[in-house]
């Protein structure tokens, strides 16, 4: 079966590969030609080869199932990559650095003078009412004054081609291991394309991450003991925790392996006795970190960890309390933060948002519920949202009641018609909607991944890209068109 691009139609949305008149967009030339040459049968065989490789390499994610407990599933990867021209990526890269710099300055300000509140840019009551504000973090100065060392920002492209930031994940963003593994698999699947096109490599993330973590050690001059703290094997991102620890050559620890001793330092139990830990890349939410301070019933954390951290005896990434900026209502202020702290205009725009806590905006949202997406400010994973256009009248009514009762807890946005990428389906190639999650490291010098994790909604017309809800992924190619 031949692939005939003239039959490929992405209707009213922006397609990342195929532009007007069936011509490849910048960076997509080699891929489009190669796909037509291979044909459908060959592509399907390569898709199968990719699936065999994923199974053999044991690339999995864990899904909770109400009856079956947790299930280890093979990672879903569509072999047709998503391409972005290097020139465009450079602008996005700059925009992400700018954004994360402002976010870190904001978090540091929140826990110190709160100048942004005094100057009337940001309403103070939003801090006090944020579920992720940690009063015990006030006055603490983490290394480099950075709080969100690892940030995963979700980008989407609208039908006019504009790239928007949809949200910033500043707590424990995941997905970077899949970005790296997707590349490893796709290099096996399309080796000839890597020879033909100038596709920028992604491999240096783990060593950048390690360098950043090591730079935070309280005992400079000695070889730092860096560990990855995981909730354990049943966590949905366990694969990633083990993967990153392995790539960095660090211990993968659980809370029960660590103890805070009388000197307020953190130690881990090794076969040689107790060894001091300098830096913890924690993949556990704030609430579970330390039963002395947060949830008393947490068995995942380490008693006394906050004490050790606040005395500067151990570094935590991300810092506790960084989640205060991981609130969708706070998100709506990011362009103002960039102007306030950096004196610059935001390079990457937010998706236009209505703040339901402001009475005029609430009325607008209630009047247009059928056209809008309403999101809880502290939600993630696509849960608890109202998709106005597809919701039933009853669902809308129910949501309207929630909105009136707790307007602080919601924002609303227009439905973004996510851009599409050609994706292999049963009988050929069809457009499927995608987003993109790049990862930004903030240490002595910032670093942005080359591309990121592209997530794809595998069902026709669906906008839900979450892997727990039927989403898949793609390799992301930043293509140097001038090389």
């Amino acid at each position: 079966m031949q692939i005939d691009w003239s039959k490929y139609s992405s209707a009213s949305t922006f397609d990342e590969l195929v532009g007007p008149e069936c011509r490849a967009r910048a960076g997509g030339d080699a891929l489009m030609r190669h796909v037509s040459e291979l044909g459908g049968e060959e592509l399907r065989q390569r898709q199968q080869a990719a699936e065999v490789a994923i199974r053999a390499m044991g690339i999995t994610f864990t899904v909770y199932h109400e009856q079956g407990g947790s299930i280890d599933r093979a990672w879903p990867l569509d072999i047709l990559p998503r391409t972005i021209a290097r020139r465009e990526w450079e602008r996005i890269d700059l925009g992400l650095r700018q954004r994360v710099r402002a976010l870190n300055l904001f978090i540091d300000d929140v826990y110190h003078e709160q100048r942004i509140v005094r100057d009337g840019i940001f309403p103070g009551e939003l801090i006090a009412t944020s579920k992720n504000f940690r009063p015990m973090c006030r006055g603490i100065a983490p290394p480099h004054r950075v709080w969100a060392h690892i940030c995963g920002s979700d980008l989407v492209r609208g039908s006019d081609g504009t790239v928007y930031v949809l949200e910033d994940n500043l707590r424990v963003p995941s997905g970077v291991s899949y970005m790296l593994e997707n590349r490893a698999v796709i290099k096996r699947v399309f080796p000839e394309l890597f020879q033909r096109a100038a596709i920028l490599p992604v491999d240096d993330y783990a060593s950048r991450l390690y360098d950043m973590l090591a730079s935070m050690s309280p005992r400079q001059g000695e070889r730092p003991e860096v560990v990855v703290l995981t909730p354990g094997i049943y966590n949905s991102a366990y694969f990633e925790h083990a993967y990153l620890a392995g790539q960095m050559g660090c211990e993968l620890v659980e809370g029960r392996d660590l103890v805070v001793q009388d000197d307020d330092c953190v130690y881990m139990q090794t076969i040689r006795g107790w060894t001091r830990v300098d830096v913890i890349y924690r993949r556990i939410d704030d609430e579970f970190l330390d039963p002395e301070v947060f949830r008393k019933d947490s068995t995942l954390g380490v008693a006394g960890l906050m004490r050790a951290w606040s005395k500067g005896n151990v570094a935590l990434a991300n810092a506790p309390g960084a989640g205060v900026a991981d609130d969708k209502l706070v998100y709506t202020y990011v362009p103002e933060m960039i102007r306030y702290y950096l004196g610059e205009d935001a390079i990457l725009p937010n998706v236009p948002s209505w703040r339901c806590r402001e009475p005029g905006e609430l009325e607008h949202v209630l009047a247009h519920l059928g056209e809008l997406v309403v999101k809880p400010v502290d939600g993630s994973g696509g849960y608890g949202m109202l998709m106005g256009p597809s919701a039933t009248p009853q669902e809308r009514e129910q949501f309207a009641r929630s909105l009136r009762a707790a307007p602080r807890d919601f924002i609303a946005q227009p439905v973004v018609a996510l851009s599409t990428v050609p994706t292999l389906v049963a009988d050929g190639i069809e457009p499927r909607h995608v987003d993109l999650r790049p990862f930004i490291l903030s240490g002595p010098s910032p670093y942005v991944t080359t591309g990121g994790l592209t997530r794809v909604a595998l069902r026709r017309g669906s906008l839900v890209v979450n892997s727990s809800q039927g989403g898949g992924s793609k390799d992301t190619w930043i293509v140097d068109t001038e090389a």
Binding site: F239, A242, R256
Partner: protein, 314 residues
């Protein structure tokens, strides 16, 4: 290295070794029963005893016939000693070790696990069974090879060797224990051709027949087999050999004094036994005591190196 990590490594090695030993044992048993006249169903019962899973087997209300026993030992996921359960446990342990084991090892274990699960149903009947069991042994040895060729000789490696050798010593003593109990007419062994092939089968269960002939250059006889499997200094599945390997490994580890003492006690016990003279009841007592020694070595390793109860500091 983290205490919990080395514990998982130790168990990973034990589970893989257990699956491989089980495959050898079922293979050898299937083989010898083909040679025995009128081999009856009860001949399979000792296999349940060797693996210490009598209670679990009885709970299912199964007859100890070939079909049930083979199914129970290879393919029953609810029997913790079965091959599929051992492999599952090995893989779960490896999942907690992905940051320390080489990718080649993980991929081989993963392949091993998937292959056995995919093929176990068709591999149970006699005509396919040898092939399935052979695949299991080959996969296990590929795993050993991947470890050997790619893993650094660090703390994780040390506990891999400890787990492997402890499981081997344990399995050798169990096979002798149960199979010798079956061979009650020990004194007449030399006269009985079926007695002979049963001792050969014991050797074959441990892949030791060829090496036995090479080392002893003598006919298969009870006292010699016992001596070979308990005391041979060169055969990698003899108890003495496994204990010596563990002694070497522990010599390089910190805080090993107590475990080393228990190893010395076990080795002296084996060296001092008068194998030519022991009658059947005495042999049973001897093997029971040997198993207690092996258990003490395991407990010493666990107490010295594995995580103590959570939140208890030094």
């Amino acid at each position: 290295m983290l205490a919990r990590t080395v514990e998982n490594m130790y168990w990973l090695a034990r589970y893989v070794e257990r699956a491989e030993n089980m495959a050898r044992m079922i293979s050898a048993t299937t083989n010898v029963l083909l040679d025995l006249p009128g081999a009856s169903a009860h001949r399979w019962a000792p296999m349940i005893a060797i693996t210490g899973s009598e209670a679990e087997f009885e709970r299912r209300g199964l007859d100890a016939d070939e079909r049930s026993v083979v199914q129970f030992l290879i393919a029953d996921p609810g029997n913790p000693g079965s091959i599929v359960a051992s492999l599952r446990a090995a893989r779960e342990n490896a999942r907690t070790l992905r940051e320390v084991i080489p990718a080649a090892v993980w991929e081989q274990l993963n392949h091993f696990y998937h292959e056995v699960n995919d093929e176990v149903a068709v591999g149970l009947p006699q005509r396919n069974r040898f092939n399935l069991l052979k695949r299991i042994v080959v996969n296990s040895q590929a795993l050993t090879g991947a470890f050997d060729g790619t893993a650094s000789r660090n703390d994780a490696w040390a506990f891999l060797l400890l787990g492997r050798n402890l499981e081997r010593a344990d399995m050798t003593s169990r096979i002798l224990d149960v199979r010798s109990a079956e061979l009650k007419r020990a004194s007449a062994a030399e006269e009985d051709p079926y007695e002979l092939i049963q001792w050969m089968s014991v050797l074959k269960s441990l892949s030791g027949y060829q090496m036995y002939r090479l080392a002893r250059r003598t006919r298969v006889a009870r006292a010699d087999v016992l001596d070979f499997l308990l005391r041979d200094g060169q055969f990698p599945r003899s108890c003495a050999f496994c204990l010596r390997e563990m002694t070497h490994v522990l010599g390089e580890l910190p805080r090993a004094d107590e475990v080393l003492n228990s190893l010395v006690a076990a080795a002296q016990f084996i060296a001092g036994a008068d194998l030519a003279a022991v009658d059947q009841p005495a042999l049973q007592r001897l093997l029971d005591e040997l198993q207690l020694h092996i258990k003490a070595v395991h407990e010493g390793i666990a107490a010295t190196y594995f995580p103590s109860a959570p939140s208890v500091a030094t």
